[in-house]
């Protein structure tokens, strides 16, 4: 909320219309729980009526052995091509404030 408010202030916004957060399953954050926490924390602020949207990102890994990029499951991050465990996570552990839509004074 602090981050949203700072941005709103920087842009001299009157109202926060929409907040978009990107969440990866490996971040340990549950989108539904975050949504309900959000509605409590923005009560009484200029984001009170804001729509809170979460985008779930896929879990993708890049294999350091065979170089193939594949989609993985939360508890199986092995390369789906060669089965190697020497993989790098490309996406899936994020908790990022992606975008904020603001209404400016006319």
């Amino acid at each position: 909320m602090d981050q949203v408010m700072t941005i709103a202030k920087t842009h001299h916004a009157e109202k926060v219309v929409r907040i978009i957060v990107r969440i990866g399953p490996l971040s340990g954050i549950e989108p539904l729980l975050l949504e309900s926490a959000f509605s409590i924390s923005c009560a009484g602020t200029i984001a009170e009526e804001a729509e809170f949207l979460t985008e779930t990102l896929p879990i993708r890994v890049l294999c350091n052995n065979c170089g193939v990029e594949s989609e993985a499951a939360i508890n199986n991050l092995l390369c789906q091509n060669c089965g190697g465990y020497n993989t790098k996570l490309l996406s899936g552990d994020e908790l990022i404030l992606a975008r904020v839509e603001l209404e400016n004074a006319d």
């Binding site: 602090d2 981050q3 941005i7 920087t10 842009h11 001299h12 916004a13 219309v17 957060v21 990107r22 990866g24 490996l26 971040s27 340990g28 954050i29 990102l57 896929p58 993708r60 890994v61 990029e69 939360i74 508890n75 199986n76 991050l77 092995l78 465990y85 020497n86 993989t87 790098k88 996570l89 490309l90 996406s91 899936g92 552990d93 994020e94 908790l95 990022i96 404030l97 992606a98 975008r99 904020v100 839509e101 603001l102 209404e103 400016n104 006319d106």
Partner: protein, 284 residues
Amino acid sequence: MCNTCGCNITPGNRPLVMAEKPKNGVTTVSVLQNLLSKNNHQAEHNRAHFDAQKVLVINLMSSPGSGKTALLEATIKRLRDSLKIAVIEGDLETENDTKRIQAQGVPAYQIMTGTACHLDAHLVHNALHHLALDGLDLLFIENVGNLVCPASFDLGHHRNVVLLSVTEGDDKPAKYPVMFRAADLMLISKTDLLPYLDDFSAINAEQNLHNLANDAPVIEFSAKDGNGLDAWITWLQSEITAYKALLLKQQTQRPKIQQDGQLLHAQPGNSKFYPVSNKAKVHK
């Protein structure tokens, strides 16, 4: 890099890609800022503090009752003559664990979290005001017994150690992937109970850990009969040596599993704004 999740967006092309057309006086601001940035900032501050005092900090995590405190008691008994150790205890209530540690003759500070299920960097920072770090070699942070939330918060520590007791079942790494993915070392505790359990396989537990693309070492031990403690002590000593060597090179140690996706997608530090309406630009 892929087009699915947006990780092909680089700092160079971000303004072009992220710019959206304004509609009806609405300004869209692309932020891409880590929502835990406040915690992470404090964690970096803690880590700098630890590094200044040259103390290796280990975050000990597990479910409640897996034997974190028993492990610490046994560890302190073995190392208190050769290393200076202190412990920060995290629990919802009671100072029981702190008293057990203090009984071993080392300083301990209790963080009572009330209803909070994990420690965060700010709680640890507050605890540091009550615990002298100078001269310490090793600081353990015994996190709140919980296999979920503690994994999401950087405390400024250098290594994550996750305990799995044999009575919990060997599928825990598959059930709690966020936690076990973060482990730099997995300890299988209470192995003295193995003769009574026919359904726990250390091999399965290790396989489940490796399925998370985590090649962390696994050590089986029992704080009760002392089996396996030698391997754990050796690991600790090698970590201290490695850490001190890094400090000499003006570097620090971090838990091995960093938030890779997070780092690719979020901008480090302060967010930059790419306002799309002229009004916002004027104000900037």
